[in-house]
């Protein structure tokens, strides 16, 4: 089973995406900001995909992405940034930091599952 890590400071967003992923048969780990997520990763969690919000307290998604890329075993893991319509600039910034792509909020469930299949081989 593929494990997906969700990072968002909005519990609503976590809940909505998690329910779609769980229903689709993915294992889901959540964190409410970059720092918490990073702690889980340095603690040994190795998700097959990370979906992270950009704008978060403690550690934003861009910094988080940069940090993840420094972690052994996480250098090649796909990372998708959760962005809003107006955050086009953040997408480029995220890619420069090592993100694979992005999702646009609010995320439609079939679109979400499609993107996961697109970026995670074997998903």
């Amino acid at each position: 089973m593929k494990t997906i890590m969700l990072v968002d400071d909005s519990a609503t967003m976590l809940m909505s995406i998690k329910s779609v992923l769980v229903k689709a048969g993915y294992g889901v780990e959540t964190a409410s900001h970059g720092k918490e997520a990073l702690t889980k990763i340095t603690g040994g969690l190795r998700p097959d995909l990370i979906i992270s919000d950009v704008n978060m307290p403690q550690m934003d998604g861009i910094t988080f992405t940069r940090e993840v890329r420094k972690t052994a075993g996480m250098r090649f893991t796909p990372i998708l940034m959760l962005t809003t319509e107006s955050e086009a600039g953040k997408r480029a910034e995220g890619k420069a930091a090592g993100a694979t792509g992005w999702l646009v909020k609010p995320v439609q469930s079939d679109q979400l599952l499609g993107v996961i299949k697109q970026v995670v081989p074997g998903a």
Partner: protein, 87 residues
């Protein structure tokens, strides 16, 4: 395990991820006349494909996966037509 490394044959099954690129590279570097069995391979990471194109091991079994079989195999098999036929 997607990657099984024996004396001179590597067998790739299922999805070969980027994490297996390094061991495969090490094996290809250190193996004389390496042979690769792709029969059960459904996908290989771009890095692994590039390794096969660079080190040109003998591909001993055509993949069942239609994409690999149609589009990738012709390239890998270019110099190994006779072996491909015997597999």
């Amino acid at each position: 395990m997607p990657l099984t490394l024996r004396d001179n044959t590597a067998t790739i099954t299922g999805t070969l991820t980027v994490e297996e690129v390094e061991p495969l590279a090490g094996w290809l570097r250190s193996t004389d006349r390496p042979r690769v069995n792709l029969r059960g391979c459904t996908h290989l990471h771009t890095g692994a494909l590039q390794l096969l194109l660079f080190f040109r091991p003998t591909v001993v079994s055509r993949p069942l996966d239609p994409f690999l079989s149609t589009h990738i195999m012709p390239l890998l098999g270019k110099r190994n037509k006779e072996l491909e036929a015997s597999s």
